[in-house]
């Protein structure tokens, strides 16, 4: 049992910290999210140069062969800077599927990710399905060598920037069956794919995607037809672990900012941080943060475990992180008073991102239920 980081891991952290420091101060980030594109392609290229885009891929596939602890470090440091480039979506989620795809697919798709050429998005959510990954009405029907895909995916994070999609579809079974779920790689510019792009509240972008008689080659099927529910859950759990790490980074910044503010802001003739009622609120924020760090370590170290351990780890972590995100976010705004409400202070921006993280891939209720069902 060991909770220390290796020298290489510390180096990785330092690298990302200096990237964030140089490229992601408040004004630079504002410029990026207000630009037409919404991300900065130069940043993505820099990730490629730093080797970050190849992090989780095996050396055989041209990657760095890093594990979940490295992903945790990257995501946490990106969280501190509220980095909007879709690293988790492309590398952790879609990369997670592709790493486990067949040799031909790995050879075809992974180099484009590592070089920074391709950005990927994962289209899984449907309006009626809420957080149930298996609740799918989007269908794919095989005829000869081609699937025909019809359906609708909502709030696909990062899709406006992506050129490639991984889509969860139903190839057989009833709407919520575990059996009959398949994963398809679909080029975004395929005929019949239409997107409505929009900004999200946290400064990112997403799309509503309609699939209308989209023809997809059989070669684009990841894994076995109808048998992908477990893979889907595995990669989503890995994504949850990364998102938790990102949240921990964002929480750290909010806690520091709040303590700093309360030391300098004066009312009633003294710094407001001298008031015990505020001190205890900040201690509660600190404890929520520490407990979140612990759960984030835990889930990242347990991703290799089987059911039900991994299910419990991921759902448990998501519950803790969502609670902490809400409490720390709301408290940071409260303790900053009127200033906390403004757009010109970073506090609101971190609060908004944390609020989105609260329910991404399932909110507290969803994961508490998952947790208890995994017994």
């Amino acid at each position: 049992m060991d909770f220390s980081f290796s020298e290489e891991q510390t180096l990785l952290r330092n690298t990302i910290q200096s990237f964030v420091q140089d490229n992601y101060d408040f004004d630079k980030r504002r410029e990026i999210i207000q630009s037409e594109e919404g991300i900065k392609k130069e940043n993505w290229q820099q990730f490629a140069e730093l080797g970050l885009l190849g992090a989780p891929f095996s050396e055989e596939d041209g990657g760095m062969g890093f594990g979940s602890v490295e992903t945790m470090i990257v995501a946490e440091e990106f969280g501190k800077g509220l980095v909007v480039e879709p690293y988790i979506q492309t590398i952790v989620t879609c990369g997670g599927f592709l790493r486990r795809s067949n040799p031909a697919q790995r050879e075809k798709y992974i180099p484009g990710i590592i070089s920074g050429e391709d950005i990927w998005a994962f289209a899984y959510a449907e309006p009626q399905g809420r957080y149930n990954l298996n609740d799918l009405t989007t269908t794919a029907i095989l005829d000869g060598d081609e699937y025909t895909v019809n359906g609708y995916k909502c709030v696909v994070s990062g899709a406006p920037w992506a050129n490639k999609l991984i889509v969860s579809v139903r190839t057989s079974g009833d709407q919520r069956d575990k059996e009959g779920i398949s994963l398809l790689i679909i080029e975004k510019n395929s005929d019949g794919v239409s997107l409505r792009d929009y900004p999200t509240v946290d400064g990112s972008r997403a799309s509503e995607i309609t699939f209308e008689n989209v023809k997809v080659s059989k070669d684009n099927l990841i894994g076995e037809e109808g048998k992908s529910a477990d893979l889907l859950e595995l990669v989503v759990d890995e994504t949850i672990a990364a998102v938790c790490s990102e949240a921990v980074g964002a929480m750290a910044i909010l806690n520091d900012a709040t303590v700093e503010y309360c030391k300098t802001r004066k009312q009633f003739g003294q710094p407001i941080g001298k008031f015990q009622v505020l001190q205890h609120r900040m201690v509660d924020m600190f404890m929520q943060y520490e407990q979140s760090v612990s759960m984030t370590y835990m889930v990242n170290l347990k991703l290799e475990e089987d059911y039900p351990e991994r299910r419990k780890a991921a759902s448990g972590a998501k519950v803790q992180i969502a609670k902490a995100a809400k409490f720390i976010g709301q408290s940071a705004v409260q303790l900053h008073g009127g200033m906390g409400m403004t757009d010109e202070l970073n506090v609101g921006h971190y609060f908004k991102r944390l609020s989105m993280i609260e329910n991404v891939f399932g909110n507290i209720d969803h994961h508490l239920k998952q947790y208890s069902l995994a017994d």
């Binding site: 980081f5 891991q9 001190q279 979140s292 370590y297 347990k302």
Partner: protein
């Protein structure tokens, strides 16, 4: 970074499990651990561990510690909790021992540590006074140096298990000028000394655990001073820091949740087991998530400590969260039991010889008393509010 157990770790687990199985005293295995233990009962497990050399896992090896790493300590705690061993009395082992190792002179290191390890000396803690609770530094029990003795006069309160104790480590005032923290000393007092009177305090659960201790012209040899005169506050803070890391009680809380689930599996609601009731299960799940977070927070703290970085004030979090969780478990246990949490069960030692009929299922006995009694955990050892003050000051710099 990893949380794997190695082959050696697993072997260690088997060794530990086997040892507990063979050596945990049979006669205290199945009795109600909360209310029925005598002094000898409480020490029988201590003695078995002493014989094996496993009595003080958190002490440095040269003073009688085991030299276990954090994984081994983790396994040890888990196995003890799973086997339901009686908790060891912490006053000597957890509190005073590390203080003597850190601040005691050679003579004290010899006799005090020996007595703690063997279990020959039972220690109690003379800290709180009627006028000095959370504001401990305002304590007024006075020690006056006359010749080669201190003469101690004062009144201590909430002294846990003082009725059994041979010795008391005690904070006394040796100087009334200047800041209150600067006039406190740390004395070792023989409970058999003339002028000491112990009066029981019965708590709301019906138990006798805490006492008042009155000291009137009690003579204490000067060689029983630990550290320098007037440096008692530094020692007291050191002691509290040590106390915090041991207080999380993760393994025992895990076990208690298991028991809670068993109870919920025996109780009914609307024709189904309570364990299948989504409202109730949700409460248990939230508790388990909290406990898992605490488990890893404790492991992170231990890892830091084992690298000599010191647990620091962050460890106050272990005290706060650990006791909140313990309290929540006892609360949910009462909730799970329902009607049968209400009957008051007379402790076994009071009902001996009578035809006392027990009421309700076995697991209901003492559950409410346990809930009432566990309210103390957020009050003792520096109340949870004081712990928050410590974090605010020492960690956040407020």
């Amino acid at each position: 970074m990893d949380i794997e157990f190695t082959k050696e770790d697993e072997n260690f687990r088997l060794e530990v499990r086997d040892f507990i199985d063979k050596n945990f005293p049979q006669n205290i295995k199945d009795i109600d651990k909360r209310t029925d233990l005598t002094r000898d009962d409480m020490f029988s497990w201590h003695k078995a561990l002493y014989k094996k050399g496993w009595i003080a896992p958190h002490w440095p090896k040269e003073y009688g510690g085991t030299g276990w790493n954090i994984t081994q300590r983790y396994i040890w705690d888990q196995e003890c909790a799973n086997a339901g061993t009686t908790p060891l009395i912490p006053f000597g082992l957890t509190m005073l021992g590390p203080v003597i190792i850190g601040f005691g002179n050679d003579n004290q290191k010899d006799w005090v540590l020996k007595g703690i390890l063997s279990g020959e000396d039972w220690w109690c803690q003379g800290y709180s006074e009627p006028g000095a609770g959370s504001d401990l530094a305002s304590l007024r029990t006075k020690a006056e140096k006359i010749g080669d003795h201190y003469v101690v006069n004062g009144h201590k309160i909430w002294t846990t298990l003082a009725q059994f104790a041979d010795w008391m480590f005690c904070l006394v005032r040796t100087n009334s000028d200047g800041k209150p923290q600067e006039g406190i000393s740390f004395l070792l007092i023989d409970m058999k000394s003339e002028g000491i009177e112990v009066k029981p305090i019965i708590t709301m659960d019906g138990g006798h655990e805490v006492n008042e201790v009155f000291l009137e012209d009690v003579k204490v040899p000067v060689e029983n001073l630990v550290g320098e005169e007037n440096m008692g506050w530094t020692i007291a803070k050191y002691l509290l820091g040590n106390e915090r890391t041991g207080i999380a009680g993760v393994a025992r809380s895990k076990k208690a949740i298991e028991r809670l689930k068993e109870i919920a599996g025996s109780e009914y609601i609307d024709g189904k087991n309570l364990i299948n009731d989504s409202d109730f299960v949700r409460k248990i799940s939230e508790l388990e998530v909290d406990l898992t977070a605490l488990e890893y927070t404790e492991l992170r703290t231990l890892a830091k400590e084992s690298k000599g970085e010191g647990a620091g004030a962050e460890s106050s979090i272990l005290k706060i969260k650990g006791t909140e969780i313990q309290q929540r478990i006892t609360e949910l246990t009462v909730e799970a039991i329902g009607h049968y949490s209400n009957p008051y069960l007379v402790p076994a030692f009071e009902r001996q010889g009578s035809n006392y009929l027990t009421i309700g299922p076995d697991y209901s006995h003492g559950a409410a008393q346990n809930y009432f009694s566990t309210r103390k955990t957020s009050i003792y050892g520096g109340s949870n509010e004081i712990q928050k003050n410590i974090i605010a000051k020492m960690v956040l710099g407020l």
